[in-house]
Amino acid sequence: MTFAEAEAEPLVLDAQRVSIGYGGTPVVSELDLRVRHGEIVALIGESGCGKSSVALATMGLLGGTARVTGERLRVCDTDALGTDRDPLARLRGKRISMIFQEPMTSLNPCMRIGDQVAEVLRIHRLADRRRARDRAVELLELVEIPEPGKRARQYPHELSGGMRQRVMIAIAMAGEPDLLLADEPTTALDVTVQAEILELIRTLQRRTAMGVLLISHDLGVVASMCDVVKVMYAGQVVESGRTAEVLGAPRHPYTQALLAAVPRASGQQVGRLAAIPGQVTPADRATPGCRFATRCALAGAGCEQPQQLRPAATDGASPDWQVRCWRHNETGRADE
């Protein structure tokens, strides 16, 4: 798919200037995020950067003191903002679905696998009882679970971690979603199993042309899976663009630092890892200026000003490559 063709695909997620806060503490500020049909978009960042809150807001699953505000949050053509009742209830499990990090805690331990898959079909009235049971076995087969008929009658504890994650994916796929949210789907899995699960998600995504929002802290997973990546730091997107561009020649000092901090199993061995000093400033103590400045090697006068996302403006770069750093032209040259 060319860039222009991709632009023409309908949006399954359209967030504009969305902010999320818990009891007055802001965790995500003014996030712009779009996921099109047939596209895999990644949100990456370290713990506490707000990436999971974005996923939960998209599902309409933020409860309690959470408040979502902004210009627009449309999920599968449904407005998710500004109503008291739950506008996404109809869509959840059908047009939007989600898989989580820990498949053991997301599955009901007292319910047979097949019944858990069939439940989604029954709730959304996609099938009657008998048909739902058959369809559940088909879905288990779709996610490449061997002997699906037998597995459907088993309980979650009888399955390995990788198999459980496949069951979660089967449940997510039951309603043939337009948007799949995957929150650290392979973090709890071994590398060889991770490879299989990612392959499965990609295969299903290509077959159904659904949009996928992948949330991860693993740059390797993102590089191998995603078309577009947004790097989050302390509740803000600091860099955004095509994965090849952003991870290939990162412009924001945080993206650069993150890549430099990963020890590699292949390629050239580094002398000393470039750790990022200090830690994330808590959101309630954030200053108006650049939030990464306290840990940034390039920080200086000017960084205390509020930073906007600006086009990276490199010759030949796609126009949607954006960086939240006023010195991004220097960072580009400083790289390597």
Binding site: E46, S47, T192, S224, A275
Partner: protein, 341 residues
């Protein structure tokens, strides 16, 4: 005194099987490894391969059911009480989760001085030593009077390291010490581990499933599969030219954050670890191996030295390579039957 700090000789460890008369779960089988002063030996493998059990045997949290554990040439496999003291002081452990391994009701000072007390250090010297190690791990001295909850995950792992270092051990057993941390913090801890080792010729037994981290820290690497060691080699050799097909498969599954999203050809490993209670008679990896022959399924290959310093347990060592892997298989795609056994 010999250069070898700790050796495992034919270590096996069985856990009782399920129910009465159930087959025992063989967590470790015939593991022989030794650690020299100042060296880092990493143990890698997937969950359930026995690497954490090995770590616990090293500090004698478990008494192995087979084989001998030697500390400076002395057999401490069944030692108790006073006889175990040298090992208790000289071998210290850092766990994966610092929230679980630090007592939330103890000040950092108490946590850090407790091993000193156990090692018989005089009360008046303990405070100085605590201040010394807390500075060594990069924390301010006033951290000693705080409680674990006042620190971030990375700082807590530093405290756990300070506690392990307090009694001047010769060997640290590190069981996934960075896998609960963010990458930027992980890099800080990895650098700290390297620096600490450089100043006091400490040996590390490093347990991890993260191959990037292992490569960064290790002198030698042992790859485990289903309770047994399948390959041991110098780190550089292992990553450059793995000899065992399982090592090849493991390395090929690592996703690097390189540009373009190009995925390297991965070994088409289907299925997961067989149960440790019901292992096949031949090579434990045969059921998932694309090179397996009849011999592999019936005769267990011993761990033998193929070149000096390099041991492989495989009937066809060196035949698998990263550049020549079967394609990943998916539903209904050709080749599936070749690898699914």
């Amino acid at each position: 005194m010999s250069d070898v700090v700790l050796s495992f000789r034919g270590i096996g460890h069985d856990f009782p099987g399920r129910g009465r008369g159930g087959p025992p779960l063989r967590a470790l089988r015939d593991v022989s490894l030794s650690l020299r002063r100042g060296e880092t030996l990493s143990v890698v493998g997937e969950s359930g391969c026995g690497k954490s059990t090995l770590a616990r045997v090293a500090v004698r949290l478990y008494q192995p059911t087979h084989g001998t554990l030697e500390y400076h040439g002395e057999d401490l496999t069944r030692a108790r009480g006073r006889a175990l003291r040298p090992l208790r002081r000289g071998v210290q452990m850092v766990f994966q989760d610092p929230n679980g391994s630090l007592d939330p009701r103890m000040t950092v000072r108490r946590s850090v001085t407790e091993p000193l007390q156990a090692a018989g250090v005089a009360r008046r010297d303990r405070g100085d030593r605590a201040a010394e190690v807390i500075a060594q791990v990069g924390l301010p001295v006033d951290a000693l009077d705080s409680y674990p909850h006042e620190f971030s995950g990375g700082q807590r792992q530093r405290i756990a390291m300070a506690r392990a270092l307090a009694a001047r051990p010769e060997l640290l057993v590190l069981d996934e010490p960075t896998s609960a941390l963010d990458v930027s913090v992980q890099a800080q801890i990895l650098n700290l581990l390297r620096e600490t080792q450089a100043v006091q010729s400490l040996a590390y037994l490093f347990i991890s499933h993260n191959l990037g981290v292992v490569r960064y820290l290790s002198d030698r690497v042992a790859v485990m599969y289903l309770g047994g060691v399948v390959e041991v080699a110098d780190s550089a050799d292992l990553f450059a030219s793995p000899q065992h097909p399982y090592t090849v498969a493991l390395l090929s599954a690592v996703l690097e954050p390189e540009a373009g999203g190009a995925v390297r050809r991965r070994a088409a490993l289907r299925g997961e670890l067989p149960s440790a209670a019901d292992t096949p008679p031949g090579c434990a990896f045969a059921a998932r191996c694309w090179l397996a022959t009849e011999q592999c399924r019936t005769v267990r290959p011993p761990l033998v030295e193929t070149v000096p310093g390099r041991q492989v347990a495989c009937h066809r060592p060196g035949e698998a390579s990263l550049s020549d892997l079967p394609q990943p298989t998916g539903a209904g795609r050709p080749g599936e039957q070749d690898v699914r056994v």
